[in-house]
Amino acid sequence: MPAILLLEQSLNGLQFGLMLFLLAAGLTLVFGIMDMINLAHGSLYMIGAYFMASFAQMTGSFWLGLPLALVATAIVGALLEISLLRRLYGRDHLTQVLATFAIILIANEVVRIAWGSQPMMLNTPAELTGPVTLPGGMQYASYRLAIIAVGAVVAILLYLLVTKTRVGMLVRAGASNREMAIAMGVDIRRLFTAVFALGAALCALAGAMLGPIFAVQVGMGENILILAFVVIVIGGIGSIRGAFVGSLLVGIVDTSGRAFLPLFFGVFLPPQLASAAGPAVASVLIYLLMAVVLYFRPQGLFPARG
């Protein structure tokens, strides 16, 4: 196995894992603090990508469009929380699953009505369309490197926010013992809305950064949503640290699986079958990973609740 291949696939896995983290972080906070399963999280990712595509086109600049998209999606998230999702706290999980599933359907159609059925083109910023030469001589897409950088920076900021600030302390208190937090006078309603809006903004960031690589199209949220859920179950519901470790784990297993399994199968299977078996087994590996983690640690790797 050439070293160059290993290095490149590791970077790819890191890139995917960090973007997954952006989604998983918001999801785990909402689940941990408000005890709500939110299937519509993927829809916020989609809406974020669409806003980004529109704003980037309107302003003509990727970097101008980005903050606009984040704010717009955060607003949508906050409105959604205030009008609808707030009523789901405290209801049973089945109700939450069905209600947010309904929101996925509605969101998909609304986006289709507003933006049309054709995928939107979102281009990498002009400065980042070429390769970058890494130490050692290998070339890697500069944009992907940028994604890794952004993901890492946000992870650090989130960590600082949750562990070193007052707001973060409230969030952790809410995650580990909600009743106590309320009893201590925390304005729980505003905290919840803020957490939800933050989660929405993180989704938008992931959607905006991944938009140029994947197409921006209706339904883009569903596939990544499932992976995000797997991540938070592995990592432990309510834990940012768990979401981080979980996403990197899932991102690397998934990417490496997709990259190396077809080669492995190609040794004894014809190319078409090897190419099909590879990604399939890679996906199964992820779920197997989740099952194994749950067997040994039923609350996930870093459970937030005491």
Partner: protein, 317 residues
């Protein structure tokens, strides 16, 4: 009894359609009835059993693939292929249930989802059996007499099976087994304290539901002589859950009502132009999903018992 009246109407329906030279609707109706069976099987485990399984597509799609693969390999007889499909689905339910039922709450939901996805990815990778594109069957299963290929005959076979499933459910729910399951659903700790082997009852319920789901799968494969991998996808599990909630969680007719309402609604919106609505929004027919989503959301928020709940029917049938 009301049930008999309904079945009488359902029995006459295709003859009326044939008289109008509109066999397309008979085919559509049999599709609805098959989904009714699938949704009813989910209602058993979800509504009566109280187990929120998000992986029911594994049994529905699994049953379909068993029939499809057997057909492609030459085994097309109804008397062999369908029972095998049911058995395989039940076995899968046994394995999946045995592992999943050891968890609770959201973890149970996630684990059942995970298993279903695993099965989906495995089948999708089987290029020999269609992979991504689905499996084309040589035709409907063979009876040894008569032809299931005739849409009218097919409709009656499906209708008969639906009646059998509903009758079996009715008997099951009113049996001792049914009452224990209801007790477990209401308060698991108390049932356990009384001395019921809770785990075994839940597992049995899960397996029965899985088997019936497999039967529905065998039927859907035959409906178009084609097995689509989307039958195994988690979105399919979600769709079945929507049918259950629309029709009435934990009611006998819930699955039937839900399937009819959901599929009927989608079809009506997509295919029949309502003049004044078209003037307001010319493309409204492309967005049937919006109406479905709004209706579902409204029902979930306002009437968690589903449509049957509106009529005051509580959790018994």
């Amino acid at each position: 009894m009301r049930a008999i009246a309904v079945f009488l109407l359902l029995a006459i329906f295709p003859l009326v359609m044939q008289a109008m030279d509109n066999l397309f609707y008979v085919s559509f109706a049999s599709r609805v009835l098959i989904y009714a069976i699938a949704a009813t099987s989910l209602n058993l485990v979800l509504g009566y059993g109280g187990m929120v399984s998000f992986g029911h597509a594994a049994f529905f799609g699994g049953g379909a693939f068993v029939v499809g693969i057997l057909a492609v390999e030459g085994l097309r007889s109804v008397w062999l292929a369908w029972p095998i499909a049911i058995a395989v689905a039940a076995l899968a339910a046994l394995v999946i249930g045995a592992m999943s039922l050891r968890t609770r709450g959201v973890y149970f939901i996630m684990i059942t989802l995970a298993f279903a996805q695993m099965i989906y990815y495995i089948f999708v990778s089987l290029k020999a059996y269609g992979g991504d594109d689905g499996l084309q069957m040589p035709g409907r299963s063979t009876l040894g007499f008569g032809r299931l290929g005739n849409d009218l005959v097919w409709y009656y076979v499906v209708l008969a099976l639906l009646a059998a499933v509903l009758y079996a459910m009715h008997r099951l729910v009113h049996s001792r087994f049914g009452r224990v399951i209801a007790a477990i659903r209401e308060n698991e700790a108390r049932a356990e304290a009384i001395g019921f082997p809770v785990y075994r009852y839940k597992l049995l319920c899960f397996v029965i539901a899985g088997g019936i789901g497999g039967l529905a799968g065998a039927l859907i494969a035959n409906q178009s002589s084609y097995v689509s991998p989307s039958l195994l996808h988690w979105i399919q599990s979600g769709t079945l859950m929507i049918m259950v909630i629309l029709g009435g969680v934990g009611t006998l007719w819930g699955g039937v009502i839900g399937a009819a309402v959901l599929l009927g609604l989608e079809h009506l919106i997509a295919d029949y132009r309502i003049g004044w609505l078209a003037k307001l929004a010319p493309n409204y027919q492309d967005h049937a999903g919006l109406a479905v989503g709004i209706v579902l959301l409204t029902i979930v928020m306002l009437a968690p018992e589903g449509i049957a709940g509106f009529f005051g029917r509580r959790r018994h049938a």
